[in-house]
């Protein structure tokens, strides 16, 4: 039917138009036994090796997707919650890695405190520090103020870890700037009662100490030094300890003079003078601060 340098177009008796090698054909000629062009020439063949690679790539993509989704879900899943109460009340949801995945203001001031704040990729210590700074800037926290951190952790070890980290961070951050009471308690109950009721848990400690026997002596002062600084607070789980705030000399001005609390599980970490630590891991060597682990 048509001749080209590379091929000829033939019409067979069944009505098929075919391309074949042009073996010196002429238009109009009837030919026998032509060498037909192969379809493989027009369509790339799919080799088995390519299929194997595709299968491997597909499996790898599935695995990546699976692990990616799992990691993301693990990242987003709250594992621990910290309720920060100044007057603004804020809930921090932490994942297993200790990173803050969500922040929520629990009252109007809390919402105001969080306005425009991004917690993405930050840990609880950083976020707490920054929120305290914001609280100071917004006038929520001032001299003689009160900070409560209620840690709702599924494991005691985690509670201890976060408690120590928060205590140290707040101590360092506020050291020499102002005197505030810091309370670290386990569980959420203490906070749920609202910020107005926080004094009930402030300076006193009725939280559990694994090492000390429960010898809550209301008269015992926890700070034996003349310039006591550490104000232990930490009511375990919001139990009313039965102590008055002033019993322990709630706030002591010179942080430098803070005594090292004997018998403390955390060594000399209680030195700031405006930190009071509740919970079951603090004991203040006076023997009057006793914690019952069951109160968590």
């Amino acid at each position: 039917m048509e001749c080209h340098p590379g091929y000829a177009i033939l019409l067979d008796e069944e009505g098929r138009f075919l391309k074949a090698a042009n073996l010196r054909y002429e238009v109009g000629q009837t030919v026998c036994d032509p060498v037909l062009m192969r379809d493989g020439g027009t369509r790339p063949r799919k080799s088995p090796v390519r299929w194997v690679w595709r299968a491997v790539a597909a499996v790898a993509a599935c695995c990546l997707l699976f692990f990616g989704v799992s990691s993301y879900l693990a990242y987003r899943t709250p594992y621990t919650a910290i309720y920060l109460t100044i007057n603004p009340q804020v809930r921090m949801d932490l994942n297993r890695e200790g990173l803050v995945v969500e922040l929520e203001g629990l009252n109007a001031d809390g919402t105001r405190l969080l306005e425009g704040y991004d917690c993405g990729g930050k840990d609880s210590v950083t976020v707490t520090g920054e929120l305290v700074e914001r609280a100071i800037a917004l006038g929520f926290l001032s001299e003689g103020g009160f900070i409560s951190c209620a840690i709702d952790a599924p494991e005691e070890a985690l509670f201890r870890q976060y408690g120590m980290a928060l205590r140290d961070a707040l101590t360092d951050r506020l050291d020499g700037r102002m005197t505030v009471q810091v309370e670290i308690v386990a569980g959420r109950d203490a906070v749920q009662e609202g910020p107005d009721e926080t004094p009930q848990v402030s300076p006193t400690a009725a939280s559990p100490t694994p090492t000390a026997a429960p010898t809550a002596a209301p008269t015992a002062a926890p700070t034996p030094s003349p310039t006591p600084t550490a104000i232990p607070s930490a009511a375990g789980g919001g139990q009313t300890p039965g102590y008055e705030a002033g019993d322990y000399g709630a706030t002591i001005d010179p942080p430098a003079a803070s005594p090292t609390v004997a018998g403390s599980d955390y060594g000399s970490a209680y030195g700031s003078g405006y930190s009071a630590y509740g919970s079951d891991y603090s004991s203040y060597g006076d023997g009057s601060t006793d914690y019952d682990p069951d109160h968590r």
């Binding site: 091929y7 008796e13 009505g15 090698a21 238009v27 109009g28 790339p44």
Partner: protein, 241 residues
């Protein structure tokens, strides 16, 4: 690097345009001859060695089948030419015990074909070939009015027997209903809906082989007696609803 890029561009152009493919093949004739010579272990003689024609067809196949992930085009074409020539050589070996009609025979060493009685009417054949050629030219011209070339039809031709039969059913329906052929000539468009509805062939099948259907229907309009005679078997045994 640039040279390789140019070749790829030329190949891409040749894939889409028949004329560009012809030009590309002509431009690379030395390469094709060299590849054939490697196989034959002697320079091929144009117009005599079938291997050269096979190599040219393989080069065209390489143009059609080339993709960037296959590497350099010339290397790909070289592999294709070589494998195709090997296949051709194996195929031809089956007939190695058959005596060639061009082989010298007898005491005077004349070609065998010269010693055989020839009952063919050469002049009649020439006349018939010229008439066929004229018909093909007319058909090509008429197809061009529909925007279809013989190359398009060859590319668009059904490969599977079932599809081929479906197209035949549609053709047979159009033959029985000549108004469809008239409509085709008048509107220059394939009456797809009526053809599909009447013949019972899926519209999608007809659309997929539109160029092929146009060529077949044109052949069955008027004036293509020789081609129609060649296609007699097409409609043999085709039942129309």
């Amino acid at each position: 690097m640039n040279e390789g890029h140019d070749i790829i561009q030329q190949v891409c152009a040749a894939k889409k345009d028949m004329r560009a493919a012809d030009d590309f093949i002509s431009a690379y004739m030395p390469f094709i001859k060299a590849e054939t010579a490697k196989f034959l272990k002697r320079p091929p003689i144009e117009g005599r060695d079938d291997e050269l024609s096979i190599a040219m067809l393989s080069f065209y196949e390489a143009i059609r089948g080339y993709a960037r992930e296959r590497g350099g085009f010339l290397r790909y074409a070289s592999i294709l030419i070589r494998s195709r020539l090997i296949d051709y050589h194996r195929q031809e070996r089956r007939h190695s015990d058959v005596l060639s009609i061009h082989a010298p025979a007898g005491e005077e060493a004349l070609p065998l074909e010269d010693t055989l009685a020839d009952r063919r009417d050469h002049s009649g054949e020439l006349v018939e070939r010229e008439a066929t050629r004229e018909e093909i030219r007319a058909l090509t011209r008429q197809m061009a009015e529909f925007g279809v070339s013989l190359g398009d039809v060859a590319d668009n031709c059904p490969r599977q027997q079932r599809t081929l039969e479906a197209c035949r059913r549609a053709l047979q329906y159009a033959r029985v209903h000549p108004e469809l052929l008239e409509e085709l000539l008048r509107t220059k468009r394939l009456p797809m809906a009526r053809l599909a509805g009447g013949s019972g062939v899926e519209r999608k099948t007809l659309e997929r082989h539109r160029s092929y259907m146009i060529a077949l229907l044109l052949i069955y309009t008027n004036g293509y007696d020789i081609i129609r005679g060649h296609l007699k078997q097409v409609l043999k045994g085709t039942v129309v609803r």
